[in-house]
């Protein structure tokens, strides 16, 4: 095994080859399939729970998973090389009644018609849910327990005003963790079982906490046996199918699949194919166990490389290994989750967050790029799927060829891979007390929620809307949408005479909102520890097994709770609007401004237009307004630092909105940046739509005004481009320089939206919304909305051609 496998930058699996065509068939099937609402898992879980009433909850969880894995439907579809499905129908959603059932009961007739993430519901599954599952679970779920305990003033912030929302963890599993596949690949579950058995043999039950540890270990052993049995069921099925198979080639494949599933994941894999099957079984069983998202495979090109290199050393052709890799890659698109309508709008499009990272620094600080990094990029280029979420880790020494190949993938328009900055995130991790070696092993979890391996990051601890906090500061703590007093009384802003008073009110409101977010997060942790411990997840997170402590009880090496700040740009733009309109230019008084906000600018359109068009906006490299954005985020981070999590760790901030900018905007009144009540807020740390008029370098410089090293749990910076300039090699090289400059300046993350014809058509229909969209064609740049119709049409046509 050696690192100096020859690197092939271009394709290993030729387009048109049999292997390529197989993977395209697999791809086409998975994108055609319609997701169903499936009750099989829930029925098996309920059977088990009824049998284990009165036992310790950790053991009940383990036994329930055992019952599910031994009885759920197993099936292998044609062409599959990597096997295993989470539900009786491909790419379908399981019910997790132990977390919550009320929302399903309330929304059961909406799954087929709701605006986002639809599911087909059969009459039988409907009947099973309504007659068997709901009556048993009603009143006994994690959600019921949580809602019975949440304090009234926390509810006001969480539900009435929606200053923050922790939707998923109130009704589902945690997820959001880096899965240490490497341990399983190196030791097999057999090796983990031996470690646990030794721990149990050495344990003295008269020591403090020993019983707790014993129950944890007993649960782990039940789960390990269940996982191995599950794999063996696939082996048996493959043998049976091989017996009935008439095609000789497929018959041999099925027998090889059987051999794989008989051998792994009990034993460490002997081939790359087996290693891929191990990673998939792990990912799959985690999805079956709970409905948390963002179980993150992490640095796939690193821990898989030894198996890949070993096969190459034995003479396996790269094309064959690439075919296996792509067959694996496609499987990651299969997990989908049933989420409540409101949550599916925040996380629209089934982002299950299985994030694979490639490249970047090794723990020793060297560039870690290898041939498998390029193979992953090739898979991404060939398959163009929404999962895995895909990241290229960048640093100053990232090979140019890797960056250029990544740009080829970015050009395809899916927004992937995203690029992250090792230098900045390493520094951010060090600030949180992470060791240098662990810091260099950071990866984005889910979308972009960075953490090192062996971290219980407790990510997705709620989106917290900075713009809403500013609203409360300007309304004496009263929610402008509901009229309810949800925050402390920080003074009538009509009487404020300086920016200092506004900032003081903002800081007090922030203190209150973050405190209640922390109260709810810590309550959620208590309830999960009691009702939904996760020994399965703990098997993949050090040092849980070593310590004999579940991840929900603090078994991991690092324990955080992470909160996502949103509405960043609007908060800063709004502060700038007040300063200029009221205090600098004295166009309006505070009283007039607050009245205008109360009335959603009705009757005062010139003021709104002034705030929209004549006040400097974040995204244009203008230090004064960028300074306000920095201030608004610093107050958020400062306040997080004043709280401790349920497990005694820090509250860590991120600046990520996913698609929450729409629903949170709906709950936010008019703001002094000229934004109307109920309209969307800005995305993550990106400028407000259509206000960044000075191009990408200016937008980047603005984004850099925020302290990225305070975003230990990540941030997202979205940039829109048209595909045109990326068509030439020269254009791609300039684009690469742009990215490198941003990385050199300390930008933590960037992702690109290469705008296609559909977006341009939308921009044509709604020019105001896409005001900042710059089209660069034929040696000249222009705002798309300023072009006349026939030219717009030409560019739309050309763009589609070029994509």
């Amino acid at each position: 095994m050696t690192r100096d496998i020859t690197i092939d930058i271009q394709d290993a699996l030729p387009q048109g080859s049999a292997g390529f065509e197989r993977c395209q068939r697999l791809r086409d099937r998975v994108i055609q399939v319609e997701p169903y609402f499936c009750t099989e898992r829930a029925v098996l879980l309920t059977e088990s729970y009824k049998q284990t009433e009165g036992e310790h909850m950790m053991l009940r969880r383990a036994k329930a998973l055992d019952h599910i894995l031994r009885n759920m439907k197993v099936y292998i579809l044609s062409d599959e090389l990597i096997v295993g499905h989470q539900a009786p129908k491909q790419r379908s959603g399981n019910v997790f009644p132990e977390y919550a059932v009320q929302w399903i009961y309330d929304e059961i007739d909406e799954f087929e018609t709701r605006p986002a993430d639809k599911f087909i519901l059969s009459d039988e599954d409907r009947r099973v849910f309504m007659e068997e599952l709901y009556p048993y679970w009603k009143g006994r779920t994690l959600h019921d327990r949580m809602m019975a305990m949440i304090p009234e003033d926390t509810k006001l912030q969480r539900f009435d005003a929606m200053v923050f929302a922790i939707g998923h963890h109130e009704t589902g599993g945690f997820g959001h963790v880096v899965i240490d596949h490497e341990r399983i690949l190196q030791k097999g579950f057999k090796g983990i079982r031996t470690e646990i058995e030794q721990k149990l043999a050495e344990m003295r039950l008269d020591e403090s906490n020993a019983w707790k540890r014993k129950i944890f270990y007993d649960s782990c052993l039940i789960i390990i046996d269940a996982i191995i049995a599950f794999a063996h069921r696939y082996a048996d099925l493959a043998v049976q199918m091989a017996g009935e198979e008439t095609d000789e080639g497929r018959r041999k494949e099925l027998l090889a699949i059987a051999d794989n599933c008989r051998y792994i994941p009990e034993n460490p894999p002997a081939t790359f194919w087996q290693a891929c099957q191990v990673v998939w079984f792990n990912q799959l069983i985690l999805q079956i166990n709970d409905n948390g998202t963002s179980y993150t495979p992490g640095r796939f090109d690193q821990y898989m490389f030894p198996f890949y290199a070993q096969d190459l050393g034995r003479g396996a052709p790269k094309a064959q290994l690439q075919e296996v890799l792509e067959a694996f890659w496609i499987k990651l698109t299969e997990p989908v989750k049933l989420f409540a309508g409101a949550d599916s709008i925040i996380n629209v499009g089934q982002p299950t967050g299985q994030n694979i990272s490639i490249g970047g620094l090794s723990p020793e600080g060297e560039d870690a790029t290898n041939d498998l990094s390029y193979r992953c990029l090739e898979a991404s280029l060939h398959l163009r799927l929404m999962q895995p979420n895909f990241t290229v880790r960048m640093h100053k020494g990232t090979p140019q060829s890797l960056l250029m190949r990544a740009i080829e993938a970015i050009k395809m328009g899916s927004g992937m891979p995203q690029l992250t900055n090792d230098h900045t995130f390493t520094e951010a991790m060090l600030k949180l007390g992470v060791s240098l070696e662990d810091a260099r092993e950071y990866v984005p979890v889910g979308c972009m929620e960075t953490m090192p391996k062996n971290t219980w990051g407790r990510a997705n601890g709620g989106f917290l809307n900075l713009t809403k906090v500013l609203e409360l500061a300007l309304s004496d703590g009263r929610c402008r949408i509901t009229g309810k007093q949800v925050g402390p009384k920080t003074g009538d802003a009509r009487t404020f005479t300086s920016m200092e008073q506004i900032k003081e009110a903002y800081e007090k409101q922030m203190a209150h909102s973050v405190t209640h977010n922390a109260i709810e997060n810590n309550l959620i942790d208590l309830v999960h520890e009691e009702i939904a411990p996760i020994p399965l997840v703990s098997l993949f997170v050090d040092n849980c097994v070593e310590r004999g402590v579940d991840a929900t009880s603090g078994g991991a090496k690092y324990n955080w709770t992470s909160v996502l700040g949103i509405g960043v740009a609007n908060a800063g733009d709004a502060l700038m609007g007040i300063q200029q309109a009221v205090f600098d230019e004295k166009l309006v008084t505070m009283e007039e401004l607050i009245d205008a906000l109360d009335n959603d600018f009705e009757g005062n359109e010139p003021l709104r237009q002034y705030l929209l068009n004549r006040v400097p906006k974040y995204g244009n490299d203008l230090p004064e307004v960028d300074g306000y954005v920095r201030y608004a985020t610093d107050v958020f981070f400062d306040e997080l630092a004043r709280h401790r999590s349920y497990l005694g760790g820090p509250f860590v901030g991120s600046l990520i909105s996913i698609s929450a900018y729409v629903p949170f905007g709906e709950k936010t009144g008019a703001t002094p940046d000229g934004r109307l009540s109920g309209s969307a807020i800005a995305d993550s740390i990106s400028p407000m739509n259509g206000v960044d008029l000075n191009g990408p370098t200016a937008a980047m410089k603005s984004a850099l005004a925020i302290d990225h090293t305070r975003c230990g749990n990540g941030l997202i910076f979205n940039q829109k481009f048209t595909p045109g300039p990326l068509q030439s090699k020269e254009g791609m090289e300039k684009f690469a320089s742009l990215i490198r400059s941003y990385i050199n300046l300390g930008g933590a993350q960037i992702q690109f939206n290469i705008v296609d014809g559909d977006t341009l058509r939308a921009a044509k229909a709604d020019p105001q919304k896409y005001r900042g969209l710059v089209v660069r064609v034929a040696g000249y740049s222009a705002f798309f909305h300023e072009l006349c119709e026939d030219i717009q049409d030409t560019i739309i046509a050309r763009t589609e051609y070029s994509v």
């Binding site: 359109e605 010139p606 003021l607 237009q609 002034y610 929209l612 068009n613 004549r614 490299d621 000075n694 191009g695 990408p696 370098t697 200016a698 410089k701 300039p725 030439s728 254009g731 090289e733 300039k734 320089s737 742009l738 490198r740 400059s741 050199n744 300046l745 660069r776 064609v777 034929a778 040696g779 000249y780 740049s781 222009a782 300023e786 072009l787 006349c788 026939d790 030219i791």
Partner: protein, 294 residues
């Protein structure tokens, strides 16, 4: 000193090497029928009205010092460019084409993207209008940029006394030099001026020591004919040009005409792929490297 600047565009990737900041100076002696920046032609600032942005608040009429804003359409002949309406207009519908900036202010803008120039091998490009229309200001900006170690380029029509061109080129690393037509009469017909001085200045480019690239805007019905292309190629070879950019005509500037109270009368057409390829071949036959687009 100060100059009139009508736009500063960062992340310009089509006018010279690397990532550049384009600085557009007001004023141009040519009147090309296809001009994409008509507001840049006069020597002073021009009122631009974006009708779609106007909400009809009427504030401009109240603050106007000349009476121009009391008229609809706006009384451009009365306008003294006092700029009160621009200052008032809440939507940005009223805007003057350019503003006065000192060389120091321009250089401060240029400095903002220095990290991007350094990574990409970029710098600044002075464009217009015709940057030589403000040659002293142009020279000062370019000299300042060079002093700061920033790569400098200009995009020029070349129409100026050589005595104006020379001090500008003394501080220019790369010249993008437009050749619109080889026939002086046709040149006058399409651009309002003959071409003798332009060609004469072009012949003297090698002696300035700056790297130079010729640029030809390719427009069907103006300069795409075989004869003109052959003459252009011969001229490029004669003056020792190594590289030539063919810029296919576009109508991107059309919306601006309405904003300044004019209509877009030009009826040229964009050459198709075959015509572009043919033009490229003619240049390459003379040993000149051809690039399509900027």
């Amino acid at each position: 000193m100060t100059g009139l600047v009508f736009d500063i565009q960062r992340y310009s990737v089509n006018d010279g090497h690397g990532i550049r900041t384009n600085i557009f100076l007001q004023g141009c002696p040519l009147r090309c029928l296809w001009c994409a920046n008509p507001e840049s032609q006069p020597l002073g600032p021009v009122l631009m009205v974006t009708a779609s942005k106007c909400i009809g608040c009427g504030g401009c009429a109240k603050v106007c010092s000349s009476g121009a804003q009391q008229k609809r359409p706006v009384g451009r002949a009365l306008c003294t460019a006092c700029r009160r309406c621009e200052k008032f207009c809440p939507t940005g519908a009223l805007r003057f084409s350019s503003r006065e900036m000192s060389a120091e202010e321009v250089l401060a803008e240029a400095e903002k993207d220095r990290p991007f120039y350094e990574e990409s091998g970029g710098g600044i490009t002075l464009s217009g209008g015709e940057p030589l229309a403000q040659w002293e200001f142009a020279a000062e900006v370019l000299a300042g940029a060079q002093q700061r170690g920033i790569h400098t380029a200009i995009e020029t029509t070349g129409l100026a006394p050589f005595a104006h061109l020379q001090p500008v080129l003394a501080h220019t690393d790369l010249v993008l030099y437009d050749i619109k037509h080889m026939d002086s009469e046709k040149h006058r017909q399409f651009t309002g001026v003959p071409n003798e001085r332009i060609l004469e200045n072009a012949r003297r480019l090698p002696e300035t020591g700056a790297e130079f690239i010729l640029r030809v805007p390719l427009i069907v019905g103006v300069n795409c004919d075989e004869e003109n292309l052959r003459q252009t190629a011969a001229f490029a070879a004669e003056i020792g040009a190594k590289e030539l950019h063919l810029l296919p005509y576009h109508r991107m500037g059309e919306p601006k005409y309405e904003k300044i109270g004019l209509s877009y009368a030009f009826d040229g057409a964009t050459p198709d792929g075959d015509a572009l390829r043919r033009a490229g071949e003619i240049m390459e036959e003379k040993g000149i490297r051809v690039h399509i687009g900027g």
